[in-house]
Point group: C2
Chain length 260, copies 2
Protein backbone atom coordinates (compact mmCIF):
# COMPACT_ATOMS: atom_id res chain seq x y z
CA UNK A 1 0.00 0.00 0.00
CA UNK A 2 1.51 3.32 -1.06
CA UNK A 3 1.68 5.95 1.63
CA UNK A 4 0.85 9.45 0.46
CA UNK A 5 3.77 11.85 0.83
CA UNK A 6 3.24 14.72 3.24
CA UNK A 7 2.35 18.04 1.63
CA UNK A 8 4.70 20.80 2.82
CA UNK A 9 4.24 24.56 2.43
CA UNK A 10 7.50 26.53 2.44
CA UNK A 11 7.42 30.30 3.05
CA UNK A 12 9.82 33.01 4.27
CA UNK A 13 10.18 36.76 4.72
CA UNK A 14 13.50 37.39 2.97
CA UNK A 15 11.90 36.81 -0.42
CA UNK A 16 11.69 33.92 -2.84
CA UNK A 17 15.29 34.27 -4.09
CA UNK A 18 16.92 34.27 -0.63
CA UNK A 19 19.50 31.51 -0.06
CA UNK A 20 17.82 30.47 3.21
CA UNK A 21 14.60 29.34 1.53
CA UNK A 22 16.61 27.19 -0.93
CA UNK A 23 18.18 25.23 1.92
CA UNK A 24 14.78 24.83 3.57
CA UNK A 25 13.00 23.56 0.46
CA UNK A 26 15.86 21.17 -0.34
CA UNK A 27 15.63 19.62 3.12
CA UNK A 28 11.84 19.41 2.89
CA UNK A 29 12.10 17.54 -0.42
CA UNK A 30 13.49 14.61 1.61
CA UNK A 31 10.28 14.57 3.67
CA UNK A 32 7.46 15.24 1.26
CA UNK A 33 5.92 17.12 -1.64
CA UNK A 34 7.01 20.75 -1.49
CA UNK A 35 5.11 23.88 -2.56
CA UNK A 36 6.75 27.30 -2.09
CA UNK A 37 4.74 30.51 -1.75
CA UNK A 38 7.01 33.38 -0.81
CA UNK A 39 7.20 37.18 -1.08
CA UNK A 40 8.55 38.61 -4.35
CA UNK A 41 10.98 40.77 -2.35
CA UNK A 42 12.27 41.32 1.18
CA UNK A 43 9.57 41.50 3.86
CA UNK A 44 11.68 41.49 7.01
CA UNK A 45 10.14 43.14 10.04
CA UNK A 46 6.62 42.91 8.62
CA UNK A 47 5.34 41.10 11.70
CA UNK A 48 1.78 39.86 11.35
CA UNK A 49 0.86 42.49 8.73
CA UNK A 50 -1.77 41.64 6.10
CA UNK A 51 -2.64 43.53 2.92
CA UNK A 52 -6.20 44.85 3.01
CA UNK A 53 -6.07 48.18 1.19
CA UNK A 54 -4.62 47.03 -2.13
CA UNK A 55 -4.65 44.06 -4.52
CA UNK A 56 -2.37 41.05 -4.23
CA UNK A 57 -0.51 39.33 -7.07
CA UNK A 58 0.36 35.66 -7.07
CA UNK A 59 2.45 34.28 -9.95
CA UNK A 60 3.99 30.89 -10.64
CA UNK A 61 7.79 31.06 -11.04
CA UNK A 62 10.33 28.55 -12.28
CA UNK A 63 13.49 28.94 -10.18
CA UNK A 64 14.58 25.50 -8.99
CA UNK A 65 14.04 22.30 -11.01
CA UNK A 66 10.88 20.33 -10.16
CA UNK A 67 9.67 22.65 -7.40
CA UNK A 68 6.20 24.20 -7.54
CA UNK A 69 6.83 27.85 -6.62
CA UNK A 70 4.79 31.04 -6.47
CA UNK A 71 5.86 34.61 -5.74
CA UNK A 72 3.45 36.89 -3.98
CA UNK A 73 3.37 40.69 -3.84
CA UNK A 74 2.16 40.70 -0.23
CA UNK A 75 3.46 40.03 3.26
CA UNK A 76 4.58 36.64 4.63
CA UNK A 77 1.16 36.23 6.29
CA UNK A 78 -0.56 37.03 2.95
CA UNK A 79 1.56 34.26 1.40
CA UNK A 80 0.20 31.69 3.85
CA UNK A 81 -3.39 32.87 3.39
CA UNK A 82 -3.08 32.75 -0.41
CA UNK A 83 -1.36 29.36 -0.28
CA UNK A 84 -4.12 27.86 1.84
CA UNK A 85 -6.97 29.39 -0.15
CA UNK A 86 -5.74 29.68 -3.74
CA UNK A 87 -2.81 27.27 -4.21
CA UNK A 88 -3.86 24.24 -2.18
CA UNK A 89 -7.58 24.90 -2.77
CA UNK A 90 -9.02 22.75 -0.04
CA UNK A 91 -6.11 20.28 0.31
CA UNK A 92 -4.59 21.00 3.70
CA UNK A 93 -0.78 20.98 4.01
CA UNK A 94 0.66 18.58 6.60
CA UNK A 95 3.38 21.04 7.52
CA UNK A 96 4.19 24.73 7.12
CA UNK A 97 7.85 25.73 7.43
CA UNK A 98 9.12 29.30 7.29
CA UNK A 99 12.67 30.52 6.73
CA UNK A 100 15.46 29.83 7.03
CA UNK A 101 15.61 33.45 8.11
CA UNK A 102 18.78 35.46 7.66
CA UNK A 103 18.97 36.74 11.26
CA UNK A 104 17.73 35.56 14.67
CA UNK A 105 14.08 35.56 15.68
CA UNK A 106 14.59 34.72 19.32
CA UNK A 107 13.18 36.61 22.36
CA UNK A 108 10.97 39.62 21.52
CA UNK A 109 11.91 39.36 17.81
CA UNK A 110 9.14 36.79 17.44
CA UNK A 111 6.73 39.76 17.33
CA UNK A 112 8.51 41.76 14.60
CA UNK A 113 9.46 38.80 12.45
CA UNK A 114 7.68 38.10 9.17
CA UNK A 115 9.21 34.61 9.22
CA UNK A 116 7.65 33.75 12.56
CA UNK A 117 4.34 35.49 11.73
CA UNK A 118 4.01 33.29 8.63
CA UNK A 119 4.49 30.21 10.84
CA UNK A 120 1.99 31.61 13.36
CA UNK A 121 -0.52 32.09 10.53
CA UNK A 122 0.06 28.47 9.50
CA UNK A 123 -0.75 27.39 13.06
CA UNK A 124 -3.88 29.57 13.12
CA UNK A 125 -4.96 27.67 9.98
CA UNK A 126 -4.50 24.44 11.93
CA UNK A 127 -1.31 23.39 10.09
CA UNK A 128 1.65 22.09 12.18
CA UNK A 129 4.15 24.92 11.72
CA UNK A 130 7.81 25.76 12.34
CA UNK A 131 9.86 28.91 11.87
CA UNK A 132 13.64 28.55 11.35
CA UNK A 133 16.20 31.34 11.74
CA UNK A 134 19.99 31.61 11.75
CA UNK A 135 22.11 34.16 13.60
CA UNK A 136 23.62 35.62 10.41
CA UNK A 137 22.10 38.49 8.44
CA UNK A 138 24.42 38.23 5.47
CA UNK A 139 23.33 37.06 2.03
CA UNK A 140 26.05 34.40 1.98
CA UNK A 141 25.25 33.06 5.45
CA UNK A 142 26.36 29.45 5.88
CA UNK A 143 23.23 27.36 6.42
CA UNK A 144 24.97 24.01 5.82
CA UNK A 145 25.31 22.88 9.41
CA UNK A 146 21.62 23.73 10.07
CA UNK A 147 20.46 21.17 7.47
CA UNK A 148 20.31 17.99 9.62
CA UNK A 149 18.52 19.85 12.41
CA UNK A 150 16.00 21.42 10.04
CA UNK A 151 15.19 18.02 8.60
CA UNK A 152 15.22 16.24 11.97
CA UNK A 153 12.95 18.74 13.70
CA UNK A 154 10.50 18.83 10.77
CA UNK A 155 10.42 15.01 10.70
CA UNK A 156 9.57 14.94 14.42
CA UNK A 157 6.73 17.44 13.94
CA UNK A 158 5.35 15.32 11.08
CA UNK A 159 5.58 12.21 13.28
CA UNK A 160 4.28 13.58 16.58
CA UNK A 161 1.27 15.81 17.05
CA UNK A 162 2.12 19.34 18.07
CA UNK A 163 -0.45 20.39 20.68
CA UNK A 164 -3.34 22.38 19.17
CA UNK A 165 -2.71 26.12 18.70
CA UNK A 166 1.05 25.81 19.11
CA UNK A 167 4.03 25.96 16.75
CA UNK A 168 7.83 25.92 17.02
CA UNK A 169 10.29 28.82 16.89
CA UNK A 170 13.69 27.33 16.03
CA UNK A 171 16.86 29.45 16.10
CA UNK A 172 20.43 28.49 15.18
CA UNK A 173 23.51 30.11 16.72
CA UNK A 174 26.25 31.17 14.31
CA UNK A 175 28.69 28.40 15.25
CA UNK A 176 29.76 25.41 13.20
CA UNK A 177 29.67 22.90 16.06
CA UNK A 178 26.09 22.79 17.29
CA UNK A 179 25.80 21.19 20.73
CA UNK A 180 22.25 19.88 20.28
CA UNK A 181 18.71 21.09 20.89
CA UNK A 182 17.33 22.90 23.95
CA UNK A 183 13.58 23.37 24.53
CA UNK A 184 13.28 26.93 25.86
CA UNK A 185 11.01 29.80 26.71
CA UNK A 186 11.16 33.21 25.00
CA UNK A 187 13.72 35.40 26.81
CA UNK A 188 12.63 38.77 28.18
CA UNK A 189 14.27 41.61 26.30
CA UNK A 190 13.69 44.55 24.00
CA UNK A 191 15.34 46.76 21.40
CA UNK A 192 16.85 49.99 22.59
CA UNK A 193 16.41 52.21 19.58
CA UNK A 194 18.76 54.81 18.31
CA UNK A 195 17.22 56.23 15.08
CA UNK A 196 19.92 57.73 12.94
CA UNK A 197 18.98 61.27 11.98
CA UNK A 198 19.88 62.28 8.42
CA UNK A 199 19.10 65.09 6.01
CA UNK A 200 17.83 64.38 2.50
CA UNK A 201 18.96 66.22 -0.70
CA UNK A 202 16.01 68.61 -0.20
CA UNK A 203 17.23 69.56 3.29
CA UNK A 204 14.44 67.67 5.01
CA UNK A 205 15.21 65.57 8.08
CA UNK A 206 14.53 61.83 8.11
CA UNK A 207 15.10 58.94 10.48
CA UNK A 208 16.46 55.46 10.02
CA UNK A 209 15.59 52.78 12.58
CA UNK A 210 18.56 51.15 14.24
CA UNK A 211 19.21 49.85 17.72
CA UNK A 212 20.61 47.26 20.05
CA UNK A 213 18.94 44.23 21.59
CA UNK A 214 18.94 44.44 25.37
CA UNK A 215 18.49 41.21 27.30
CA UNK A 216 16.38 41.67 30.43
CA UNK A 217 16.25 38.08 31.64
CA UNK A 218 18.89 36.14 33.58
CA UNK A 219 17.07 32.80 33.21
CA UNK A 220 19.01 29.78 32.03
CA UNK A 221 15.89 28.28 30.42
CA UNK A 222 15.61 30.93 27.70
CA UNK A 223 16.33 30.88 23.96
CA UNK A 224 18.99 33.58 24.36
CA UNK A 225 20.84 31.49 26.97
CA UNK A 226 20.69 28.36 24.78
CA UNK A 227 21.97 30.19 21.70
CA UNK A 228 24.78 31.89 23.65
CA UNK A 229 25.88 28.42 24.72
CA UNK A 230 25.95 26.88 21.24
CA UNK A 231 22.58 25.10 21.29
CA UNK A 232 19.73 25.20 18.79
CA UNK A 233 16.83 26.86 20.64
CA UNK A 234 13.30 25.48 20.20
CA UNK A 235 10.53 27.60 21.74
CA UNK A 236 6.96 26.29 21.63
CA UNK A 237 4.95 29.35 20.62
CA UNK A 238 1.26 30.22 20.81
CA UNK A 239 -1.07 32.95 19.56
CA UNK A 240 -3.29 33.30 22.60
CA UNK A 241 -1.94 36.62 23.86
CA UNK A 242 -4.14 36.67 26.97
CA UNK A 243 -2.20 37.36 30.17
CA UNK A 244 -4.30 34.78 32.02
CA UNK A 245 -2.47 35.38 35.32
CA UNK A 246 -3.60 39.02 35.31
CA UNK A 247 -7.35 38.28 35.11
CA UNK A 248 -7.83 37.85 38.90
CA UNK A 249 -6.08 41.16 39.62
CA UNK A 250 -8.20 43.07 37.09
CA UNK A 251 -11.35 41.54 38.57
CA UNK A 252 -10.39 43.21 41.85
CA UNK A 253 -10.19 46.70 40.29
CA UNK A 254 -13.18 49.01 40.62
CA UNK A 255 -13.76 50.76 37.32
CA UNK A 256 -15.57 53.95 38.28
CA UNK A 257 -17.12 55.00 35.02
CA UNK A 258 -17.93 58.73 35.09
CA UNK A 259 -21.47 59.62 33.96
CA UNK A 260 -21.21 61.02 30.44
CA UNK B 1 2.43 70.89 46.44
CA UNK B 2 1.63 70.77 42.76
CA UNK B 3 1.29 67.29 41.36
CA UNK B 4 2.79 66.82 37.93
CA UNK B 5 0.19 65.89 35.33
CA UNK B 6 0.59 62.44 33.79
CA UNK B 7 2.20 62.39 30.36
CA UNK B 8 0.03 60.49 27.86
CA UNK B 9 1.05 59.20 24.41
CA UNK B 10 -1.87 58.80 22.00
CA UNK B 11 -1.42 56.68 18.87
CA UNK B 12 -3.65 54.77 16.43
CA UNK B 13 -3.62 52.84 13.15
CA UNK B 14 -6.41 54.57 11.24
CA UNK B 15 -4.25 57.65 10.78
CA UNK B 16 -3.93 61.02 12.48
CA UNK B 17 -7.12 62.46 10.96
CA UNK B 18 -9.39 59.56 11.96
CA UNK B 19 -12.37 60.52 14.16
CA UNK B 20 -11.52 57.80 16.71
CA UNK B 21 -8.22 59.38 17.71
CA UNK B 22 -9.93 62.74 18.28
CA UNK B 23 -12.30 61.19 20.84
CA UNK B 24 -9.38 59.43 22.51
CA UNK B 25 -7.19 62.53 22.81
CA UNK B 26 -10.11 64.62 24.07
CA UNK B 27 -10.78 62.12 26.86
CA UNK B 28 -7.09 61.92 27.73
CA UNK B 29 -6.93 65.73 28.07
CA UNK B 30 -9.06 65.29 31.21
CA UNK B 31 -6.36 63.05 32.69
CA UNK B 32 -3.03 64.57 31.72
CA UNK B 33 -0.73 66.19 29.21
CA UNK B 34 -1.35 64.67 25.77
CA UNK B 35 1.11 64.09 22.92
CA UNK B 36 -0.14 62.46 19.70
CA UNK B 37 2.18 60.56 17.35
CA UNK B 38 0.14 58.81 14.67
CA UNK B 39 0.51 57.49 11.12
CA UNK B 40 0.03 60.01 8.29
CA UNK B 41 -2.43 57.62 6.63
CA UNK B 42 -4.34 54.39 7.24
CA UNK B 43 -2.23 51.55 8.67
CA UNK B 44 -4.92 49.00 9.48
CA UNK B 45 -3.81 45.37 9.47
CA UNK B 46 -0.14 46.30 9.84
CA UNK B 47 0.25 44.11 12.93
CA UNK B 48 3.62 44.51 14.61
CA UNK B 49 5.39 45.63 11.41
CA UNK B 50 8.35 48.00 11.68
CA UNK B 51 10.08 49.96 8.92
CA UNK B 52 13.67 48.88 8.49
CA UNK B 53 14.34 49.14 4.74
CA UNK B 54 13.46 52.78 4.19
CA UNK B 55 13.59 56.17 5.95
CA UNK B 56 10.93 57.46 8.31
CA UNK B 57 9.48 60.96 8.39
CA UNK B 58 8.14 62.62 11.52
CA UNK B 59 6.52 66.04 11.23
CA UNK B 60 4.71 68.29 13.70
CA UNK B 61 1.15 69.07 12.64
CA UNK B 62 -1.41 71.55 13.92
CA UNK B 63 -4.82 69.92 13.76
CA UNK B 64 -6.58 70.42 17.09
CA UNK B 65 -6.07 73.48 19.30
CA UNK B 66 -3.44 73.13 22.03
CA UNK B 67 -2.50 69.53 21.25
CA UNK B 68 1.11 68.58 20.48
CA UNK B 69 0.77 66.30 17.44
CA UNK B 70 3.14 64.56 15.02
CA UNK B 71 2.40 62.59 11.90
CA UNK B 72 4.68 59.72 10.99
CA UNK B 73 5.23 58.00 7.65
CA UNK B 74 5.68 54.59 9.29
CA UNK B 75 3.64 51.91 10.98
CA UNK B 76 1.84 52.23 14.34
CA UNK B 77 4.78 50.46 16.04
CA UNK B 78 7.21 52.90 14.36
CA UNK B 79 5.11 55.74 15.82
CA UNK B 80 5.61 54.42 19.37
CA UNK B 81 9.34 53.89 18.84
CA UNK B 82 9.79 57.40 17.40
CA UNK B 83 7.64 58.91 20.16
CA UNK B 84 9.71 57.29 22.89
CA UNK B 85 13.08 58.05 21.31
CA UNK B 86 12.63 61.32 19.42
CA UNK B 87 9.58 63.13 20.80
CA UNK B 88 9.81 62.43 24.53
CA UNK B 89 13.62 62.21 24.46
CA UNK B 90 14.16 60.46 27.75
CA UNK B 91 10.96 61.55 29.51
CA UNK B 92 8.90 58.40 29.88
CA UNK B 93 5.15 58.64 29.27
CA UNK B 94 2.92 57.50 32.13
CA UNK B 95 0.40 55.99 29.74
CA UNK B 96 0.18 54.91 26.10
CA UNK B 97 -3.31 54.69 24.59
CA UNK B 98 -4.06 53.50 21.08
CA UNK B 99 -7.22 53.95 19.02
CA UNK B 100 -10.09 54.34 19.24
CA UNK B 101 -9.97 51.88 16.37
CA UNK B 102 -12.71 51.84 13.74
CA UNK B 103 -13.45 48.09 13.96
CA UNK B 104 -13.08 45.36 16.59
CA UNK B 105 -9.73 43.99 17.71
CA UNK B 106 -11.07 41.12 19.77
CA UNK B 107 -10.06 37.43 19.53
CA UNK B 108 -7.36 36.62 16.93
CA UNK B 109 -7.57 40.18 15.55
CA UNK B 110 -5.14 41.25 18.27
CA UNK B 111 -2.38 39.80 16.04
CA UNK B 112 -3.30 41.65 12.82
CA UNK B 113 -4.19 44.94 14.46
CA UNK B 114 -1.89 47.94 14.16
CA UNK B 115 -3.84 49.56 17.02
CA UNK B 116 -3.09 46.70 19.40
CA UNK B 117 0.49 46.29 18.18
CA UNK B 118 1.15 49.96 19.02
CA UNK B 119 -0.15 49.32 22.55
CA UNK B 120 1.95 46.14 22.78
CA UNK B 121 5.03 48.15 21.75
CA UNK B 122 4.19 50.68 24.49
CA UNK B 123 4.12 47.82 27.01
CA UNK B 124 7.44 46.45 25.68
CA UNK B 125 8.87 49.92 26.39
CA UNK B 126 7.60 49.59 29.97
CA UNK B 127 4.75 52.08 29.56
CA UNK B 128 1.29 51.13 30.95
CA UNK B 129 -0.68 50.70 27.72
CA UNK B 130 -4.24 50.26 26.48
CA UNK B 131 -5.74 49.64 23.04
CA UNK B 132 -9.36 50.74 22.43
CA UNK B 133 -11.56 49.56 19.54
CA UNK B 134 -15.21 49.93 18.56
CA UNK B 135 -17.30 47.48 16.56
CA UNK B 136 -17.96 49.94 13.71
CA UNK B 137 -15.70 50.31 10.67
CA UNK B 138 -17.41 53.40 9.28
CA UNK B 139 -15.80 56.83 9.22
CA UNK B 140 -18.79 58.35 11.04
CA UNK B 141 -18.88 55.65 13.76
CA UNK B 142 -20.50 56.93 16.95
CA UNK B 143 -17.84 56.91 19.67
CA UNK B 144 -19.85 59.08 22.10
CA UNK B 145 -21.02 56.34 24.44
CA UNK B 146 -17.46 54.94 24.68
CA UNK B 147 -16.16 58.18 26.20
CA UNK B 148 -16.86 57.57 29.93
CA UNK B 149 -15.42 54.04 29.68
CA UNK B 150 -12.29 55.20 27.86
CA UNK B 151 -11.67 57.80 30.52
CA UNK B 152 -12.60 55.54 33.42
CA UNK B 153 -10.41 52.63 32.30
CA UNK B 154 -7.44 54.91 31.57
CA UNK B 155 -7.85 56.55 34.99
CA UNK B 156 -7.76 53.12 36.65
CA UNK B 157 -4.59 52.15 34.79
CA UNK B 158 -2.96 55.43 35.87
CA UNK B 159 -4.04 54.78 39.48
CA UNK B 160 -3.24 51.06 39.78
CA UNK B 161 -0.12 49.34 38.57
CA UNK B 162 -0.70 47.04 35.62
CA UNK B 163 1.42 43.92 36.20
CA UNK B 164 4.77 44.09 34.40
CA UNK B 165 4.74 43.03 30.72
CA UNK B 166 0.97 43.27 30.40
CA UNK B 167 -1.43 45.72 28.76
CA UNK B 168 -5.18 45.99 28.15
CA UNK B 169 -7.17 45.21 25.00
CA UNK B 170 -10.51 47.04 25.33
CA UNK B 171 -13.31 46.52 22.80
CA UNK B 172 -16.71 48.20 22.62
CA UNK B 173 -19.80 46.54 21.13
CA UNK B 174 -21.83 48.63 18.71
CA UNK B 175 -24.76 49.23 21.06
CA UNK B 176 -25.80 52.45 22.74
CA UNK B 177 -26.63 50.92 26.11
CA UNK B 178 -23.40 49.40 27.42
CA UNK B 179 -24.02 46.94 30.26
CA UNK B 180 -20.63 47.44 31.96
CA UNK B 181 -17.15 45.92 31.83
CA UNK B 182 -16.19 42.24 31.66
CA UNK B 183 -12.62 41.04 32.21
CA UNK B 184 -12.11 38.32 29.59
CA UNK B 185 -9.72 36.06 27.77
CA UNK B 186 -9.06 36.20 24.01
CA UNK B 187 -11.64 33.99 22.24
CA UNK B 188 -10.43 31.22 19.96
CA UNK B 189 -11.28 31.93 16.35
CA UNK B 190 -9.88 32.70 12.93
CA UNK B 191 -10.67 34.32 9.60
CA UNK B 192 -11.95 32.11 6.85
CA UNK B 193 -10.63 33.83 3.77
CA UNK B 194 -12.33 34.19 0.48
CA UNK B 195 -10.00 36.30 -1.74
CA UNK B 196 -12.00 37.93 -4.47
CA UNK B 197 -10.44 37.20 -7.87
CA UNK B 198 -10.46 40.09 -10.33
CA UNK B 199 -8.85 40.98 -13.65
CA UNK B 200 -7.01 44.30 -14.13
CA UNK B 201 -7.22 46.55 -17.25
CA UNK B 202 -4.15 44.72 -18.63
CA UNK B 203 -5.90 41.31 -18.37
CA UNK B 204 -3.80 40.20 -15.43
CA UNK B 205 -5.43 38.43 -12.49
CA UNK B 206 -5.25 39.87 -8.98
CA UNK B 207 -6.67 39.03 -5.57
CA UNK B 208 -8.34 41.05 -2.91
CA UNK B 209 -8.35 39.78 0.69
CA UNK B 210 -11.79 39.36 2.21
CA UNK B 211 -13.27 36.85 4.60
CA UNK B 212 -15.44 36.03 7.57
CA UNK B 213 -14.52 35.68 11.23
CA UNK B 214 -15.27 32.20 12.50
CA UNK B 215 -15.63 31.75 16.27
CA UNK B 216 -14.15 28.47 17.48
CA UNK B 217 -14.73 28.86 21.19
CA UNK B 218 -17.92 28.27 23.18
CA UNK B 219 -16.52 29.76 26.39
CA UNK B 220 -18.55 32.33 28.27
CA UNK B 221 -15.41 34.01 29.61
CA UNK B 222 -14.24 35.31 26.21
CA UNK B 223 -14.17 38.78 24.69
CA UNK B 224 -16.50 37.64 21.88
CA UNK B 225 -19.08 36.41 24.40
CA UNK B 226 -18.91 39.64 26.42
CA UNK B 227 -19.29 41.82 23.29
CA UNK B 228 -22.20 39.74 21.98
CA UNK B 229 -23.94 40.35 25.28
CA UNK B 230 -23.51 44.12 25.29
CA UNK B 231 -20.49 44.38 27.60
CA UNK B 232 -17.20 46.23 27.11
CA UNK B 233 -14.52 43.50 26.92
CA UNK B 234 -11.19 44.02 28.69
CA UNK B 235 -8.53 41.39 27.93
CA UNK B 236 -5.21 41.57 29.79
CA UNK B 237 -2.66 40.94 27.04
CA UNK B 238 1.00 39.92 27.06
CA UNK B 239 3.85 39.61 24.58
CA UNK B 240 5.44 36.44 25.90
CA UNK B 241 4.31 34.10 23.14
CA UNK B 242 5.85 30.99 24.73
CA UNK B 243 3.40 28.07 24.96
CA UNK B 244 4.75 27.23 28.43
CA UNK B 245 2.37 24.26 28.80
CA UNK B 246 3.95 22.60 25.74
CA UNK B 247 7.55 22.59 27.08
CA UNK B 248 7.19 19.30 29.04
CA UNK B 249 5.78 17.50 25.99
CA UNK B 250 8.60 18.71 23.72
CA UNK B 251 11.15 17.60 26.29
CA UNK B 252 9.79 14.08 25.88
CA UNK B 253 10.35 14.05 22.09
CA UNK B 254 13.48 12.41 20.73
CA UNK B 255 14.94 14.57 17.99
CA UNK B 256 16.90 12.14 15.84
CA UNK B 257 19.21 14.44 13.95
CA UNK B 258 20.44 12.69 10.78
CA UNK B 259 24.20 12.87 10.26
CA UNK B 260 24.87 15.44 7.56
Amino acid sequence: MATKKPLILVVNDDGITAPGIKVLLEEMQHLGEVVVVAPDGPQSGMGHAITIGKPLRLDAVDIYPKVEMYKCSGTPVDCVKLAVNKVFKGRKPDLCVSGINHGLNNSINVLYSGTMSAAVEGAIEGIPSIGFSLDDFSYDANFEYCRPYVRGIAAQVLKNDLPKHSLLNVNFPNVEKLKGIKICRQAGGRWVEEFEERVDPHQREYFWLTGKFQLEDRGEDTDVFALNNGYVSVVPTQFDMTAHHVIPELNSWSFDIPKS
